[in-house]
Symmetry: C2
Subunit: 149 residues, 2 copies
Amino acid sequence: MSTMIETETAADLLRSHSLRVTAPRVAVLRELSAIPHADVDSIARATRERLGSVSTQAIYDILAVLSVNGLVRKFGPAGHPARFELELGDNHHHLVCRTCGTMIDVECAPGKAPCLDAADDHGFAIDEAEVIYWGICPACAATAVAATT
Amino acid sequence: MSTMIETETAADLLRSHSLRVTAPRVAVLRELSAIPHADVDSIARATRERLGSVSTQAIYDILAVLSVNGLVRKFGPAGHPARFELELGDNHHHLVCRTCGTMIDVECAPGKAPCLDAADDHGFAIDEAEVIYWGICPACAATAVAATT
DNA sequence: CACCAGAACTTGAATCAGTCAAGAGAAGGG
DNA sequence: CCCTTCTCTTGACTGATTCAAGTTCTGGTG
């Protein structure tokens, strides 16, 4: 588990975006800071452990609000349920294993913030470039070799 | 409609990958060459128009096979159903409107094929870098302004 | 050219992520 | 402390995708 942010920090985050401070929202923010690439289900379970009971719908609502307000990033590799992470402004990217779905953060290639610009924006107001590196993780590669042998 | 590939071309594509040549597969390949960012439903409907009747399950199976064999790329912006396109080796990227979902191809920034390398591959065998530019398309931007007024 | 084995396709049911809608409940300004 | 409004709960529902069993067809073989 990474370092979970404090309750007060989460509350301040909400206030600074003019959002109401509620127990479920604070809990979701805290769990997001602790779980690397959380899907809705993980967040729901972790939040319930902390608060006793929270509806799944509330989790969806909360994530949608946080997302719209730029507090969290939502991303979703094709074929996998949506995942969420706190928006830290570092525009890092993700490395995903095609076989097991394992996901790892990777830095944007150092010294280049280039991925933010498309060659031609076709008139769109681009606000984010999402990069997903697809590959096979070491563990799955080993398994594949073993199966072939 | 873009230029649809010939039946014989599609069949050759399949043979060159040691895949059986069947009417549904040929039809799906042809439709993929004609429909820009086809989702399963579009492909299914177009294929049925051509062949009379094909099960949805067959479409999924075919797309899965083509995908595994590198004939098509599957990609899926979070919150949208999966989309498919013929793998042309040009590693272009996609521009997606957050509001209406419109999708447009964009070139990889000219002169740079850099997006293919992550700063640190964590031992993964990376075979593809998928880039999604998120933004608001001109049409939706106009609508938003109108609503505010 | 007919035959066979395995690969593809059909059908129908089931699962899972995510959404919709109506009402009960709390946050925060006055 | 009260009221308005936003939030959360409950329960039903849709749409995408998958599972499973059985039939059909492709491509290699004798």
